[in-house]
Amino acid sequence: MRDVAVIGIGCTTFGEKWGTSFRDLFLEAGALALEDANLSGEGIDALYVGNMSAGRFVEQEHIGALIADYSGMASRHIPSTRVESACCSGGLAFRQAVIAVASGLEDVVVAAGVEKMTDVETSTSVDALAAAADREWEGFVGATFPGLYAMIANDYMHRYPLTREQLAQVAVKNHYNGARNPIAQFRSEITIDTVLRSSLVADPLRLFDCSPITDGAAAVILAPLERAREFTDAPVRVLATAQASDTIALHDRRDISTLDATVVAGRRALEMARLTPSEIDLVEVHDCFTIAEICAIEDLGFCRKGEGGRLTEEGETALGGRIPVNTSGGLKACGHPVGATGIKQVCEVVQQLRGDAGRRQVEGAEIGMTHNVGGTGASVAVHILGRA
């Protein structure tokens, strides 16, 4: 397999973008990525797009073709493929694009993610998102997405030391980072009190433990590493791509508080890159809920099980800490357009490795990781990127 590099990135601002349609969202991100790679669009060989539920959110399927068309690539008939894996759709679109380039089949490939969530009412989006879990045996009895993660939180807090304040600190840190990210949906800092005083959604999770409903799109452009410098002075190499699955229903897992798919995908990625967790300079993890970030940093090997709360409280996951987590603001503060999140994570890591992350820059960052989860952990994609 050939080595693969990221040669361009682009991301819309994230938020409730009432004036922007599904197809406009993608176009904006795609145009930014093309510009970043000094490409006109003529040079693109293929396109992969991650999207969870346009069928429910905007009643449109066949997203790959739609996006190729509105990007002006239909006249060249380039292959365009939609990948769906719930909230991990973006991560898997990136992975398919990496494989396409690595195989030698394609040279310059766009991997994008897009979700337009605010065209439907909140109750409809709650129901659409529940389709990421087991509709027949979880959704049927009233499980919501926050409810399932709340059950992870209660199991975790019953078995390991984690205080309500440590959990809130995840949100506080991510809002701090989001306040330093121009694309973030929430750009104001909060305190632990903000979290603890917000309304209960599913005990013990409160509104500020949850990522928001977001419109947004992100795109990255990949090329063979050997050609990367034709397009950019700062290529970023894909050191590893890994993916793992687990049971669709939370109740069927080996351990409710450990996402085995994260453990396995993380281990596979580190093996592929021949690295250890201590060699990773920053990581974007899938913090759809505060408890998810705690589990993620443990399951990826950045600390032992049960130590995630303390690590967070001590500032080790903050900017300037031992392993900065979610410098973008994460899903919590940057926002969570489900299909776009996995690609946005790559954009953030690339910005960091280029040294372009401004007020949220991790000094001297050379290697970064992304961690994208579908459902309550039934799909996980982990990627490792390094300065080329």
Partner: protein
């Protein structure tokens, strides 16, 4: 939920009917026709669960989708059945704050939810406390 989808598993939902692998003896609820341990070497047959068990973890759902909006707040739990598998289900309590990890529960037949568009009411299994509550 569409009527065919509900109707297809009505016996399983009403009677807690799952499956059992005749090869390794593992039981499945929700039912599986394929044993992940034995794969093609195994064969599954229907198996009716008594459904007694204890709460492994739970939450109180305060914001729900339309079909469940009228029932909030309600307790949702993962229950470890005595007969092996874990299931997700609602626990009916007078006060939602009474829910505890380790609480013993037994199944009851109850209304589950209402379909928004059609107004169709779905029934199935919920859980109620089985023995005196353990101290929290």
């Amino acid at each position: 939920m569409s009527v065919p989808r509900f109707w297809r598993k009505i016996r399983q939902r009403y009677n807690l009917e799952g499956t059992r692998c005749t090869s390794c003896g593992r039981t499945f609820y929700p039912p599986r026709s394929f044993c992940p341990d034995c794969r093609r070497a195994g064969e599954t047959v229907p198996f009716r669960f008594r459904g007694r068990g204890e709460i492994v973890t739970f939450t109180v759902i305060r914001t729900a989708s339309d079909a469940f909006a009228q029932q909030t707040p309600f307790v949702l739990a993962i229950i470890q059945l005595e007969e092996g598998p874990r299931v997700t289900g609602q626990v009916v309590l007078e006060d939602v704050s009474e829910a505890r990890i380790g609480m013993r529960v037994r199944p009851v037949f109850r209304r589950i939810g209402t379909e928004g568009e059609s107004g169709v009411i779905y029934y199935g299994t919920k859980y109620v406390p089985d023995v005196p509550y353990p101290d929290a």
